[in-house]
Symmetry: C2
DNA sequence: GACCCGCACGGCACTCGATGTCAAAACAGC
DNA sequence: GCTGTTTTGACATCGAGTGCCGTGCGGGTC
């Protein structure tokens, strides 16, 4: 690690802060290596060595090689349902859903986010893992939508369908965002995509 | 293999027919084993042994363990764009897309299809691989949609968005289909889902 | 029938991702 | 400085996936 451990080790506990540092370093090193070479060509051995830890330690921080990059997005997506639940039930679903996806936009745009998204989008294996997470989110968010409409998501297909359309819009925006290398703000792309498919999000 | 090689070895060539037989056997055995136990617990060793071939031969038929099940769907999905291209350009996109997805419905319903879909849907790793394929299809089908509307899919986000909505409807129908174990015909579920989101498929 | 060519198969060895085990090291609190 | 807990690294193991080579089988030629 670095030498910057000499400031106040007070608040979050020193061990915890070190752990976060190693975590961050692994993500950064991995994204860097995979941006240069491909995901497949980059081995866990290389990532661990570049971060200054052993291969075994790598797997104590991440369950799989894919997780090094996907976990960053995964923990953001886990907050989606909470953000949707915080919106007023009076809002139209299309508006509430659009606002819930603001959890993914950062101000100002972090170049590392663009790099991360780029590597994921162009690597089928990583996209696969990301989409696995998306399925979980879909059901969670659909449960919230069903709740505010007072229907049962197990028998009524509309909540999940509405949410799936929202994710289709999100993926469209994300793809255009990385295609333009982050030049066009993600917010604008989200607005455009969500507006186009809004009718299919207001099924209830 | 079996002893049933004594009929006319005329048309497709004997070697080719033997190869198809082994291919089919591997898919069937794999789906059966993975339906009993889980996908992860089932090893390639077991599948190969149950099919009467070596582990090495298994990988000459399938590039990966996931492919044993996903490849069956993959080769169907590869025909999607062709079926869409065969529709009249006068049709509304929502109708043309709905009809294109008829490539996935089989008459009568094959119980093996339901089993296959069930294993895939409930196994995250397999869903991931399936969704990787879906991304390819999305772009192919979007190219056809863009072509019939005379727009450039590289700059206009609408074709891909329309197709993504169609796949959201398809996935919804597929999920309900396996949830009901094939009792409700896939056609009816597709009709219902496509009707609900039709407005978002007629963007051009 | 003998020979040869092509091809699919099996066996072996190897890389790499992923996991369990264990001993040494780093840390926290006393 | 000592002790109990946690973290780490080294080793071993398993399964997925791949390259290489020898072999057996079918088909074609003389």
């Amino acid at each position: 690690m670095t030498h910057a451990d000499a400031d106040q080790p007070r608040r979050p506990g020193l061990a915890e802060r070190k752990r976060r540092l190693v975590h961050e370093e692994l993500v950064d090193v991995a994204a860097s290596l995979m941006a240069e070479c491909s995901f497949e060509e980059t081995t866990v051995e290389q990532i661990a060595a570049a971060a200054g830890v052993s291969r075994r330690t790598f797997f104590r921080y991440f369950a799989s090689k894919e997780d090094v990059l996907v976990q960053s997005i995964a923990h953001i997506g886990a907050k989606l349902d909470a953000h949707l639940a915080a919106r007023s039930p009076a809002e139209k679903p299309s508006v509430a859903l659009r606002r819930a996806f603001d959890v993914f936009v950062r101000h100002p745009t972090d170049p590392k986010d663009v790099r991360l998204a780029t590597v994921i989008v162009r690597t089928p294996a990583l996209m696969g893992r990301y989409l696995e997470w998306q399925i979980q989110w879909r059901h969670q968010v659909a449960a919230v939508i069903a709740g505010r409409a007072g229907v049962d998501p197990a028998v009524d297909p509309r909540p999940l369908l509405m949410v799936s359309v929202a994710f289709a819009a999100f993926d469209s925006a994300m793809n255009r965002w990385v295609a333009g290398q982050g030049a066009v703000p993600l917010e604008a792309l989200l607005d455009e995509a969500f507006t186009l498919v809004a009718p299919a999000m207001d099924l209830i």
